[in-house]
């Protein structure tokens, strides 16, 4: 056999040594191809494995439906606080802060944690999300000045978290809203607020300032995911885009309920969304009333959600039914996105969404428990 191979090789002018070298080269080439093809998907997964384990550990510590029911059954806020003290995720915050503030700080720290552990390719979006706390604090400063709170009362409104907390805390002594805006000059929010300042001075309403901050946040969030290079970023784009659409929809519905026209609403809204593009938003803003908004949404994924809530709205006459329906949809949508990429961004989105829902529900419970004898069944109805 060996002689036959040798003679064949000699016939075609190849020495056994050349043949061995050839074999080695072939194996190396085949090996390199196999390595490249097989490791490429692994390289996509690799950066997510550590963060996924961390968020899943935290997801496992979120309250179950049974635990939420137990909290709802508490007799007052004190009992809610005592219950939450039994959980390491909440206990350290409750030792130092009031219930509402502890919940706010916990959520702010969650955004910060996700930003710190998120893989590089999706970090930017979560960095923007972590700025929610700074925006909340700036809004609180503005509201406090609007209602005439003193320094201590203003400080009480702030969440002691976020990258700008120290700078913002120094502004609690500001004389008025204009001086707060001036003091923020040089920060990323400076020009945003300065642009909205003339409208505030003209109308003497803080809504233009709040809307400018909200739009700046949503615009940056959407822009951070607008080049969906891979499946992870596509999922993030879908999640963030849905948030933007829902924020726009909530604002339009509330504005229509208050009888505002297109010109008034358009200055407060983010001009372009995800599924609801500019022309569609214009249609919605030009709608005559809330029912027309629902019919104008025909063909979008929001049509069915709002149609289902329309009957309840007609009965109760309160637009909060639409807001609850949209919030529930956002939570469900995040849940289904979370299942799409279990070894990618999925668990991270799933956890962020569930944590936001948990904090929102705990705040609803805390607010209800401040009123004596508020029925547990009504609280359950209000929960997302």
């Amino acid at each position: 056999m060996a002689d036959e191979i040798t003679s064949i090789l000699e016939t075609i002018g190849i020495t056994p040594e050349t043949f061995i070298v050839f074999m080695i080269v072939v194996i190396m080439v085949v090996g390199a191809i196999v390595v490249i093809v097989t490791t490429r998907p692994i390289l996509d997964i690799y950066p997510y494995l550590n963060p996924i384990a961390k968020v899943r550990a935290r997801k496992g510590r979120l309250f179950s439906e049974k635990q939420i029911t137990e909290i709802v059954d508490a007799n007052n806020t004190g009992e809610v606080v005592n219950y939450l003290r039994g959980f390491p995720d909440y206990a350290p915050y409750l030792d130092n802060y009031s219930l509402d503030k502890a919940l706010d700080i916990q959520l702010a720290d969650t955004y910060d944690l996700i930003y710190r552990i998120a893989p590089k390719e999706i970090k930017k979006s979560f960095k923007i999300m972590s700025k929610k706390t700074d925006i909340y604090n700036i809004k609180s400063l503005i509201i406090a000045k609007e209602v005439g709170f003193n320094a201590d009362e203003t400080r009480d409104l702030l969440i002691p978290s976020g990258s700008m907390y120290d700078n913002l805390e120094a502004l609690v002594d500001s004389d008025n809203i204009t001086s707060i805006v001036t003091a923020l000059d040089g920060t990323e929010y400076g020009s945003v607020l300065e642009d909205a300042l003339p409208k505030y001075e003209e109308t003497n309403m803080i809504l233009p300032l709040e809307a400018a901050l909200d739009n700046y946040y949503l615009k940056n969030l959407l822009a951070s995911t607008e080049v969906p290079a891979d499946e992870n970023k596509q999922i993030l784009f879908s999640y963030v885009g849905t948030q933007v659409d829902i924020a726009n929809l909530k604002l339009i519905i509330r504005a229509k309920e208050d009888g505002l026209d297109y010109n008034t609403i358009s200055s407060y809204i983010l001009s372009d969304g995800y599924q609801l593009r500019e022309w569609k938003l214009k249609d919605l803003m030009e709608s005559q009333d809330v029912s027309n908004i629902v019919s104008s949404l025909e063909g979008t994924k929001y049509a069915n959600i709002l149609s289902d809530a329309l009957a309840e709205y007609t009965e109760k006459g309160n637009v909060s039914v639409f807001e609850k329906a949209l919030d529930s949809y956002l939570a469900k949508s995040a849940n289904s996105l979370a299942l799409k990429k279990p070894l990618g961004i999925g668990p991270i989105i799933g956890y962020v969404s569930k944590k936001e829902t948990e904090i929102r529900n705990l705040k609803i419970i805390a607010r209800a428990k401040r009123e004596a004898n508020y029925p547990a069944s009504k609280i359950m109805e209000m929960l997302i």
């Binding site: 390595v35 097989t38 494995l49 996924i52 384990a53």
Partner: protein, 161 residues
């Protein structure tokens, strides 16, 4: 220079392929499982022992590759100074190495992904441990097939015995 028969040299290539690719799969798999485990332990220190178990699972592919490589080196005469292999047996030895090498590569990576997922599931819900072990053990079968075929090739290809 040491005189090595062509068959023995081919068997050396087979040994390299066996441990090289099986080790690559095992390393990638173990890296994935360990990355997930470190994340879990950072949140829950009680996950350390479970993380070690899942991180150790993809080690087996490298062991199979190492074992086959050693057998090839010994029976090809490269280690121990026995008689060298014929060219035909040397070609069979490359098949032996490829069998466990590529099977180990796929099996190791698959097991690593399953193990990392299992660690994530267990840190969320402790009751997932036994189910996680079962799912993580499934990709082991491909490495076992590769190992069995490698042994059979060595036995019936004139390398062993």
């Amino acid at each position: 220079m040491v005189e090595i028969a062509l068959g023995t040299a081919l068997a050396a290539i087979g040994a390299g392929v066996a441990i090289g690719f099986a080790g690559l799969g095992s390393g990638l798999g173990q890296g994935m499982a360990a990355a997930g485990s470190v994340g879990a332990v950072a949140e829950d220190s009680e996950m350390f022992s479970k993380g070690i178990i899942f991180s150790a699972l993809p080690e087996t592919q490298a062991i199979y590759g190492f074992l086959i490589a050693i057998l090839l080196l010994v029976f090809s005469g490269l280690l121990g100074g026995g008689a060298g292999l014929s060219t035909t047996a040397g070609i069979v030895a490359i098949g032996v190495g490829a069998s466990i090498g590529f099977a180990g590569l796929g099996s190791g990576m698959g097991q690593g992904i399953a193990a990392a997922s299992s660690v994530g599931a267990i840190v969320e819900d402790d009751e997932m441990f036994s189910r996680g072990i079962i799912f993580s053990a499934l990709p082991e079968t491909q490495a076992i097939y590769g190992f069995l075929i490698a042994i059979l090739l060595m036995v019936f290809g004139g390398i062993l015995g």
